[in-house]
């Protein structure tokens, strides 16, 4: 679904490349998590996928990025935007309407969704993020978390084949964050939407994503099945990426018991491991 080959990108007017020699592939129906320290190029990568780079943000673009077979450089942002939906990191700048309902309407109107279909789509999208009651509210009266949910709903309503989310739970409390992750999982599993999720919440990433890529200083330093990437936790620590406590636990236990323990990615697995070791 997504194929990036030898991609390097430098923003116009900058000397240092934001991305260097990126090779990445996400299969259809994949769920990729991207993690990395601030300034690693995560947002730039997301912009490449939506075609904002190089169409909106000019610069030196080397290599190729293909989305569902379409080259993002040759394809217009309009055609790409029918395929790829993106939730921005800065929610404030993503929201363009003063009212919640209008915000959801915007994309639907532009993409020519039929009039009969629009009300159901809006209701469905609002329900899926749990904010049906906010439909008639003005954006200015909402909290940061609620705005974030509106932004997510406005993209989900468009039913993109690929969903790119740039730290969508930044302003959400732990419970709402989990709710968003669960929703993404449902979209991924039931509707087969390919998801690329940039996040700092490693615990949730481990639990929900299928693949994980670690970005550092513009390069992908690790990528693969989530569990595989986590197996080399020491290296991640060195890069400044925190590992979930359960993963650290299995690493410590491996060292103490002298035998390789399986990598745990959630508390249930950790519990099973401890029960096995302490009969």
């Amino acid at each position: 679904m997504i194929q990036i080959q030898d991609l390097s990108f430098t923003y116009k007017g900058e000397k240092k490349p934001a991305l260097q020699e990126i090779n990445l592939s996400v299969p259809e129906g994949g769920f990729l998590g991207i993690i990395g320290p601030a300034g690693a190029g995560k947002t730039t990568l997301a912009r490449v996928l939506t075609g904002m780079i190089p169409h909106h943000y000019p610069g030196n673009f080397y290599g190729s990025a293909r989305v569902k077979g379409l080259d993002t450089v040759d394809t217009s942002i309009n055609d790409l935007s029918r395929l790829v939906g993106m939730v921005f990191q800065d929610v404030e700048s993503q929201i363009i309407s003063p009212m919640v309902e209008d915000e959801l309407l915007y994309g639907l109107e532009n993409f020519g969704v039929s009039r009969e279909e629009i009300p159901a789509r809006i209701e469905e999208a609002l329900q899926s993020v749990g904010i049906s009651e906010l439909r008639e509210r003005s954006i200015a009266s909402l909290s940061g978390g609620q705005r974030q949910k509106v932004a997510i709903a406005s993209i989900i309503a468009l039913k993109p084949r690929i969903l790119v989310l740039d730290e969508p739970t930044g302003e959400l409390d732990p419970r709402s964050s989990r709710q968003v992750f669960s929703l993404l999982k449902v979209l991924n599993e039931e509707q087969g939407i390919t998801i690329v999720l940039i996040e700092q919440k490693i615990m949730l990433l481990c639990e929900f994503t299928k693949q994980l890529a670690v970005l550092s200083e513009g390069r992908i330093v690790r990528q693969g099945e989530t569990r595989e990437v986590l197996a080399r936790a020491e290296e991640l620590q060195e890069l400044g990426v925190n590992c979930p406590r359960v993963t650290t636990l299995s690493r410590i236990l491996s060292a103490r018991t002298g035998e390789e323990q399986p990598v745990c990615i959630n508390t249930e697995e950790a519990e099973a491991m401890i029960r096995r070791l302490i009969p």
Binding site: T50, G51, M52, H55, H56, Y57, I77, N78, L80, S81, R82, V84, G85, M86, F88, D90, E92, S93, Q94, I95, I96, S97, P98, M99, D102, L105, Y106, G107, L108, E109, N110, F111, G112, R115, I118, E136, S138, I139, A140, S154, I155, L158
Partner: protein
């Protein structure tokens, strides 16, 4: 100030008017205020302004706008009265002509400013821009600029408050300063505000682009804006008002 431009939901006669009719009404009131030369007619127009606010169910807002304008009005009135030399003196250097002109200037200001603020209070910005595009064939990018500008007002104020809070936390005594002093303290903050706004505007443009900004056509809007008998009635009222301003 923050809620001065915010939409007040409702289902009044004014709310239900076609957005284009509302704009027409605003323009006609402004035009009438400039055409007429009679103090009494201007007072009548002010009454019409107030009536619109009351019918729309936003009497509080109307009163607030009026009060806000009153401060500027008093200043303007004094300036006009003191500077006009024509006419017979009534008291000290104040002349009857001066009083009359000042009254008219001030009334005109209030009458002209009020309808626009009221219309914004009872019309959703999206309805306004969609109607402009659909009915008046205004090119969408212009309409988008208008709606984004209005949408950004509360956001700028929020941001300004945030910057000021940040400065207060670092010891700048914003809370103690008043009037001109406070204004001079706020001026240096314009640079950070401007920078963050420009960055934000660019991102908003990108966000609109990835949601099909360029695909939007005149008929893209979901809602339709037909004209009703109420609209017709309003237009007739507007024309009468205009005729009155010319004849009287």
């Amino acid at each position: 100030m923050n809620n001065l431009f915010q939409y007040v939901p409702g289902n009044s006669l004014i709310h239900r008017l076609n957005p284009i009719t509302k704009i027409f009404l605003t323009i006609i009131i402004c035009a009438a205020a400039f055409i007429t030369d009679r103090l009494l007619f201007l007072v009548g127009l002010l009454a019409v302004d107030m009536l619109i606010g009351i019918i729309a169910g936003v009497a509080d807002r109307t009163w607030n706008i009026f009060r806000g304008l009153l401060k500027i009005a008093v200043f303007l009135f004094l300036l006009q009265v003191l500077l006009t030399r024509k006419g017979t003196p009534v008291f000290w250097i104040i002349t009857d002509q001066g009083l009359l002109t000042a009254g008219k200037v001030v009334l005109r200001l209030v009458v002209v400013c009020m309808p626009l603020a009221l219309v914004l209070a009872v019309t959703r910005i999206s309805d306004l821009t969609n109607a402009l595009v659909q009915v008046l064939h205004v090119p969408y990018p212009y309409a988008f600029t208008l709606s984004t500008a209005i949408r950004f007002i509360p956001q700028f104020l929020e941001e300004m408050a945030e910057i000021m809070e940040a400065q207060t936390a670092r010891g700048v005594a914003f809370d103690k300063a008043k009037g001109l002093k406070k204004l001079s303290m706020m001026l240096p903050l314009c640079a950070p505000l401007l920078i963050s706004s420009v960055r934000r505007t660019d991102q908003t443009a990108a966000a609109a682009e990835v949601r099909g900004f360029h695909l939007r056509t005149r008929t893209s809007g979901y809602k339709r804006y037909p004209f009703s008998y109420v609209d017709l009635g309003t237009v007739v009222f507007c024309l009468l008002l205009l005729a009155g301003a010319i004849v009287l």
